[in-house]
Symmetry: D2
Subunit: 304 residues, 4 copies
């Protein structure tokens, strides 16, 4: 399988379709990015890297970091945290507070904002210096010191963070939040402000394509069974209110972010990161999703 | 892989756990069934059959028939029907009318009742004698005249069918229903009243494990790409409000019915049907779900 | 108090404001009405009639008839029916089915469509010929044979009645509907198709301004306490999702219909009917509401 | 009319019914109150006071203070604030955040918590020392230095204030909150912790029975038209999700608090305060509501 040739074809075909969306603009730092950027990096299970376009340009990974933090506390999640977050698709926008009320303070899944806040809260219970631990962890599994936190993005998120703050207080009113709210939010906004390029991001997802073992960290990150469960969660909940559509058209477990990135895996084959800033109405990158759809068609790979 | 030995182990272990639930009792015909029955049938891609317990006892397949009817009109669904039904998980009980109102008459997916009614309506537009066509189709893909419609179940469903009738009128108020309501409901209640045993049901799902080709019908039922999409839909939407949980713990595409049956597939390996009447709170068979969880653990098979 | 002069001033001032809305167009019969018509009739407790504009032109009273039917079964409502319908404002559009689901088949109040269907169902339990009984009752309390049922409006309502039919089946699924659905709907669509002019409509509300005694029928229609309760219901629930606004700005108990009519009462003073076909976004006549606001300002009458 | 005799009869009859509810227990300070206390004070328009039972025992007025703060900014509310808060009944519990999301950050009315926070926010924009201003205002209109703020109640509210804090951040995310959140919440928790007895509370509502003029402050507190609008708001929204029921059974404008108090007015006749700590499921005092129902029956007074 010549991955390099295939992703170049995909890149070309997507570019020709001239798809347009809307760059996230809730903070000025994201709105300012060049909307025409588009990159793809694919990493196979031997560590070979294939790239095209702007695949070496760092971008804001935003919600994709929720997969990393979930992994860091998954062993807790699987036992104690299990009662604090569900694993069901949401059927509502990522930041809905109504659903949280209907379900009495237990978020639908760890990838909507309320659920990710519970995960970060659990992470703050476990680690003394959670922000450093997150960076160290991602650096380790991507095999390189690649993580930087964009301070102006972080500050801007904080300044527009009223809704996430409301979610945190709401969780606390249901006793589903254990640490100081400001401290947890500081970690949360930091993880959202992480910048990486497509290559490093694809590497950091490699263990999920490899039954939990990272060839870059050279250790088991998750047990085989836990790695599968993270993949199942990404497939059913990784794309906000468009998870079904993505499973239907692409059929790979993945996670998107409002920075325009998508990271996904084909189990036992490869991990991949695609990035382009313009988003569709559901908040997912229009070019990234199209690229992944074309790729799975060409490869005849699919979970199903 | 000795499938016979494995399903016997699974059967034994589930029986020892002595799991209890509640037989569906909204109609007397379902409530009357012996709750202790439990059967498993697995069919590999060569057509070999493995069975244990009550795997040859016919039972009411109920909502599992929605996979068959969806398949019969999938080519329409994929183009014209696409605007009439979404492919997103529901996050609500299977018969919720509230969600249908919020989403202006377009059901979330083809497996909740409102979506299945749209599918049956489309089927009634296509075929002159839809009930016979459904029976003929299932008989063909299971390689045998195995389908019978239980008339007293059907009549009982009709007598308790106010909520489905309300859904049909509601769909019609949004102009998302084309045929006579009573006629479509007659087909719908007939398909829910189909009885088959585990072997025939597993055979009837075989094409979904085989890229769309049925070895029993000896023809392509769906294109490879469409078969994958049906599998993706089953994975994200096949278990009512418990689809995420099932993907998380089992990781196979499947569909359950309130009769206590579950049909599922492991792509490129096998199809399987498990049946036991007692249901959990979400309406899925407690023993069937446990059996599938143990099976995928033992086989180390999973999509992910 | 010179009522004639005051309503003429009100009429003049409203006309000068040139308020515009949108005639109800869900059925062609309502859409076809001349939108510029506007009439006011006020009836004091001695039976004196004051009128201006198109106050003698019959129009479709639509939902205003829900006050008449409620009155006809209020004694039942107050005891047995009490458990079948609540008396709380809705906070949702008049034909919402979602709320009915959240509240398990018990409508919020007798003036939203679901609640009115329960009332008409109760009326069908009580009377052999319910349509005739409704006409007879309204004729009696307005002191004249004034009621006619517009057959083409009724048929048109029936042909566009899918949503009300869905509500009826939904109520039945919760066992909150006792009679044959088609028969009750026939009565319901008949009562909505009643035509009367402003004078007769105002007369038919006179008992609610008079502690339950109708000077036109010359008998007690409701006890004093029941009459007050109907008034309280009109004040809190009589204007769909705009009841609070109407209480806030006008402060009179009243009921509106999509035909553009509003009937209201000032207890111990008068009853009034105002009609103009153009509606605001909430489905209430723009001119009628403005007229009542000006009237209560001028009269310095208000409940509060 | 011998008010003293009537309220004594009412008191007696309510006591004989031995109604039970549940004292508010979300903070220990409220839970600790003697549940058997029960007092009534009625103040006529000449300032005569009639009292029975524990009518001179101070209690926590809680949400009843929302009427006072609304009055203090009503002139703003009526113009600019109008776009920030609606005047519709809620149909949901008093602290629901879901409805706030559905309606994009504009609370349904000024008496649900979200709406009251907007009012207190507006009050903080207007006054330098808002807590003192609130106390001064209530002292003025009750004709006596009667207001004290219970510090331990206030601190306890603050310590259990996560849900109100969430509402404030949520409002801010919709740009419907102008001041520092902690400062506004401090004022809000202070006003909830105000303690007064029935006599002073009834006096402080006297202007609403008197077309806006307070005989205790000897000045117009609200214009006649504004006073009516506050009364209309109390009638439609003053009793959480039980406003319709209260209007239906009692028919007076009023406001309740979780401390067990209810203040109400009969326009042009009297104001009244009733207090008893045990609440029904909707959060309203069981004895106070029963007392007001009996009272209006005996007096044959009603708005309607």
């Amino acid at each position: 399988m010549d991955y390099q040739q295939i992703i170049e074809e995909v890149y070309q075909e997507v570019q020709e379709e001239n798809l347009r969306g809307k760059v996230a603009d809730y903070i000025p730092e994201l709105a300012r990015v060049n909307p025409d950027q588009f990159g793809i990096a694919l990493v196979d299970l031997k560590g070979n890297v294939f790239g095209v376009g702007d695949y070496q340009v760092p971008f804001s990974i935003q919600s994709i970091s929720k997969v990393h933090t979930l992994t860091m506390v998954f062993h807790v999640f699987n036992s104690k945290l299990f009662s604090r977050v569900n694993v069901e698709p949401s059927g509502n926008p990522f930041n809905s507070i109504a659903q949280l009320e209907f379900e009495k303070g237990v978020p639908r899944n760890p990838f909507i904002n309320a659920g990710a806040l519970v995960i970060t809260d659990a992470l703050c219970s476990k680690f003394e210096k959670p922000i450093e631990q997150i960076s160290d962890f991602i650096n380790e599994i991507s095999g390189k010191n690649c993580v930087s936190i964009n301070d102006s993005v972080k500050k801007s998120e904080q300044n527009h963070g009223e809704r996430n703050t409301a979610l945190a207080y709401f969780l606390k009113s249901y006793k589903n939040f254990n640490n100081n709210i400001d401290e947890v939010l500081d970690v949360y906004f930091s993880q959202c402000a992480i910048e990486m390029n497509c290559v490093d991001l694809a590497k950091s997802f490699s263990y999920l394509a490899n039954d939990g073992f990272s060839i870059f960290a050279n250790r088991e990150i998750l047990s085989e069974s836990h790695a599968r469960r993270v993949n199942a969660l990404m497939l059913t909940c990784g794309f906000y209110d468009e998870a079904g559509e993505f499973a239907f058209r692409v059929g790979l477990p993945g996670k998107s972010g409002v920075g325009g990135g998508v990271a996904a895996v084909m189990p036992h084959k490869f991990s991949i990161a695609v990035w382009s800033p313009e988003l569709n109405e559901k908040g997912n990158s229009v070019k990234a999703i199209k690229a992944l759809e074309l790729l799975t068609d060409k490869l005849s790979f699919s979970l199903f």
